[in-house]
């Protein structure tokens, strides 16, 4: 009897419950995403579904996606990186200054990416070696990197028009501003996609990725299982720094200028996107797919609201409310029922 019941129960839970929490949330977010997509398609069919608009939409989420993917590594390993936005600005400035020195494009990109990784190492050093809490350490380095970006250029933007070779200037522009066939999909979207796929594979299929999950789930246990936690988490911060650098390059390229104030608050947007997609900020859960879905959601919401003529103030509120609702309902899904809410509203004792 008891056994039978147990079996029935198991059936009822179904295969959805067997998935891990992040996957479940990813599916859930995907549903919301599709819902939003359909909603906006109905509200503004001609405008929203226009290929040009969809391309714009993708281009608009490039920054959040790239920074978000990097941040996902930090979040999954139980850390955080509030310095990503500042690190992005610093990278952009270094990129353009290097180009202005007349160095070849590839060399500049390589140096700039290394610089991004260095900012990650710096974060990792304070967090892993000196034991500062990630939130605090990266808040401090945020200020340091932002300060450095400003000091380097004395607060003024650098323009790519000052690059000596017009050839390089044009090549550089193509990275972030070019489109396939001139007006097709932007290259930056493709770069983002490729980058996300690579990071996704690293996180899901490679040993270092597995180690990142272990560190995020139980650091002590990971250490005692012979995982080099310092190296692992350092790697995560480096990925975040690298992502910020890539983002910095793309943005500088597209805008033909490097602004020391660029990327302000992007880390928060990226974290919000990741969380929307189902990444747990407490570590140990979630994949790059979650982040990409979250970034898409963010993009669809913003774009859709813009197309419907909703002004910035209302947008800010609406995005906040959607974030709250989405995350709250994900949590409720996890805990299996909405008992807490019902109890709160006195619907249930």
């Amino acid at each position: 009897m008891g056994n039978l019941k147990a079996k029935v129960q198991e059936k009822k839970g179904g295969s959805f419950n067997k998935l891990n929490a992040a996957t479940r949330r990813a599916i859930y977010s995907l549903c919301i995403l599709v819902g939003l997509f359909v909603l906006f398609s109905i509200l503004q069919p001609a405008k929203f579904l226009a290929p040009a608009n969809l391309q714009n939409l993708l281009q608009q989420i490039v920054t959040y996606t790239i920074i978000g993917c990097g941040l996902t590594f930090c979040l999954v390993c139980g850390g955080n990186d509030l310095s990503a936005g500042a690190s992005m600005a610093l990278s952009g400035i270094i990129m353009v200054s290097l180009l202005m020195q007349g160095l070849p494009l590839v060399v500049c990109i390589a140096l700039c990416l290394i610089m991004g990784i260095m900012t990650g190492i710096m974060n990792g050093f304070f967090i892993e070696i000196l034991g500062v809490v990630p939130f605090v350490a990266t808040l401090a380095t945020q200020w340091v990197y932002r300060g450095m970006a400003n000091v380097l250029v004395n607060g003024a933007p650098l323009y790519t028009t000052n690059i000596p070779s017009k050839e390089i200037q044009k090549q550089f522009y193509v990275l972030g501003g070019g489109r396939i066939g001139g007006d097709g999909l932007p290259y930056s979207v493709i770069i983002t996609l490729v980058y996300a796929v690579i990071l996704g594979i690293v996180l899901a299929k490679m040993r270092i990725g597995r180690q990142i999950y272990a560190c995020g789930s139980n650091l002590e246990a990971a250490k005692l299982s012979g995982i080099n936690a310092v190296k692992t988490r350092m790697f995560a911060y480096c990925i975040s720094g690298l992502s910020a650098a890539i983002c910095g390059i793309l943005v500088a390229s597209r805008l033909s200028s490097a602004q020391p104030t660029a990327g302000n608050g992007y880390e928060m947007e990226a974290i919000a996107a990741s969380v929307l997609g189902g990444i747990s900020i407490l570590g140990g859960e979630g994949t790059i797919l979650n982040t990409v879905i979250g970034a898409l959601m963010m993009g669809v919401i913003r774009n859709g609201l813009n197309l419907n003529g909703v002004n910035s103030f209302w947008q800010q509120m609406i995005v906040g409310i959607i974030l709250l609702i989405a995350v709250a309902s994900q949590t409720a899904k996890k805990s299996g029922d909405l008992g807490a809410i019902k109890r709160f509203f006195g619907l249930r004792k």
């Binding site: 008891g2 019941k5 147990a6 129960q9 198991e10 839970g13 419950n17 067997k18 891990n20 299929k205 490679m206 040993r207 270092i208 990725g209 597995r210 180690q211 999950y213 272990a214 789930s217 139980n218 002590e220 246990a221 990971a222 250490k223 005692l224 299982s225 012979g226 995982i227 080099n228 140990g284 859960e285 299996g336 004792k349």
Partner: protein, 514 residues
């Protein structure tokens, strides 16, 4: 004169995917200690959590002194005079001992907390229980055993009429267990009804008259202990009979594998010399807080020793980190699975493979199939009770979690396996399996260093026993001839008081020559 204190009737409880309890009943009389036994995952803790307001039952009723009650929160349970000592420690590490004892109900003077009074009261309770602790000490700085004693003091301080003890002795050594039993007997005289959960049959015999047995969430029966034999009881628990509690194999002990000299770390570890041979089980005994865990953490590289010379199979080795230790074939199953043993948010498959990701990696990529095979193999081998290897470890019962911890090291081809309290919180059936496993491993030539606070286990399983006292090795005993008294004598350091030298076995005596 037997007067019923409380009764639970037809309690059922399901968790997603698991039916933890199915119409279980039990009753306790005034001034009685009822034993509650069953295999790991039988549902003992769940049942008691329902009684104490942590979980709510799906169906069933609870009566206290004949009145039906609805226990919907811990606070309500306290109100009704129900108190529980949880299986897992639940302490606020940043707060003082007194704060923890009176957590949420500190003494007040007007609207402010009366710290003086609170510490005074706490001191009184601790003194009453014979526990020596500074009430101002931060609980985080205490050893696990000391924390457990604070937990007990806290439960006692409620002056409740119903007290549940969920494996309270798992982290205690003999001396503290005796102390605890003294306390329990005193409470009994006061008419407090208690439920006592333990996997140690000997303890049940000491303090319980009746035991209730549950298996797989189902009620099996309630028996008077003096009416059934131990074998019958074990039979009821596991549904099968076990021939011998400690399956002794004829061990084939070989050459010395690991030798350690001058292991020192601060004041906690101060070991001059010890060794372990191929295929041998070396028991490490001592009072709680003697520094056994710390010593082994040094050997494993988890803590940086101030000085340490290790020799593995005759060659000197350096162990500065866990990674190096693992590379040399040393494994270490920790004592606190919740804190540093398992990634509770990840599944069994992941945890099983965590310590040997390297071996299932090709070009940096993980071979998931191999990992799956591994996990399934050990779930079967250790009879871990779980719907699948994809179950999150956080959803397993304590004992099943411990099995996963062991599996993690077993699949990692170790030469020396250090196990710290390997059977803490494991039921008799599983224990037997673990012991058999140890025997099998030693037959394969693995050396096992086993830290245990359970004296019968140490005596039953080991070949040699080292006794640690205040971080020093205070003697070595031959398990075949040693008695519990011998171990306790050394563990308490009486030989030092009496000026006698520590006993040294001939096997270890030739260290100068090596």
């Amino acid at each position: 004169m037997e007067q019923e204190l409380f009764r639970m009737e037809g309690i059922s409880k399901s968790f997603p995917g698991v039916k933890a309890l199915d119409k279980v009943s039990l009753s306790v009389n005034k001034g009685e200690v009822l034993g509650l036994v069953g295999e790991n995952g039988a549902g003992k803790s769940t049942l008691m959590k329902i009684l104490s307001g942590v979980h709510r039952a799906d169906e069933g009723e609870i009566f206290i002194e004949g009145n039906k009650v609805d226990i919907d929160s811990v606070a309500k349970a306290h109100e009704l005079g129900v108190c529980i000592i949880m299986q897992e420690l639940n302490m606020c590490g940043h707060l003082s001992v007194a704060d923890n004892i009176f957590i949420g109900r500190a003494h007040k003077k007007g609207i402010f907390i009366d710290d003086g009074k609170m510490h005074e009261e706490a001191k009184k309770i601790l003194d009453d229980l014979g526990i020596e602790l500074n009430t101002y000490a931060h609980v985080g700085s205490l050893s696990i055993a000391q924390q457990q004693m604070v937990e007990i003091a806290k439960a006692i301080s409620f002056n409740s009429k119903i007290l549940v003890l969920d494996e309270p002795t798992a982290t205690l050594t003999e001396k503290e267990i005796d102390q605890l039993f003294g306390i329990i007997r005193r409470l009994k005289e006061k008419g407090v009804g208690m439920v006592y959960i333990s996997h140690r049959m000997a303890e049940l015999n000491q303090i319980c008259e009746r035991v209730t047995i549950i298996r797989d969430g189902q009620y099996i029966g309630t028996r008077n202990l003096n009416e059934i034999t131990m074998d019958q009881l074990v039979n009821m628990i596991v549904g099968r009979s076990l021939e011998d509690k400690y399956p002794k194999y004829k061990r084939n002990i070989g050459e010395i594998v690991l030798e350690a000299r001058n292991v020192r770390r601060g004041t906690k570890v101060n070991a001059d010399y010890f060794y372990v041979k191929k295929g041998e089980i070396l028991g490490i005994s001592g009072l709680v807080g003697a520094g056994r865990t710390e010593l082994m953490r040094c050997i494993f590289g988890a803590d940086q020793a101030d000085s340490m010379e290790l020799t593995l199979e005759g060659k000197p080795i350096k162990v500065n980190s866990v990674i190096q230790a693992i590379k040399h074939g040393i494994g270490y199953a920790t004592e606190d699975r919740k804190r540093d043993g398992l990634a509770l948010g990840l599944d069994i498959k992941y945890n099983t493979n965590m310590a040997h990701l390297q071996n299932i990696t090709r070009f940096g990529f993980i071979n998931d199939k191999e990992g799956l095979k591994n996990a399934e193999k050990y779930v079967e081998l250790l009879r871990t009770k779980t719907p699948s290897v994809h179950q999150l470890c956080g959803n397993l019962s304590g004992g099943n979690q411990q099995k996963v911890v062991l599996a993690k090291w077993l699949c990692n081809d170790v030469k020396v396996l250090i196990v710290d309290e390997p059977t803490r919180g494991i039921d008799v059936g599983a224990k037997y399996e673990v012991y058999e496993l140890f025997n099998k491993l030693s037959a394969q030539g693995v050396s096992i260093i086993m830290i245990s606070s359970e004296l019968p286990e140490i005596l039953g399983m080991s070949d040699r026993i080292l006794v640690i006292h205040q971080g020093e090795i205070n003697g070595e005993l031959d398990a075949k001839t040693a008695t519990q008294e011998d171990i306790l004598y050394l563990a308490a350091g009486y030989n030092k008081l009496e000026g006698k030298p520590a006993p040294v076995l001939s096997g270890g005596g030739n260290r100068k020559g090596e």
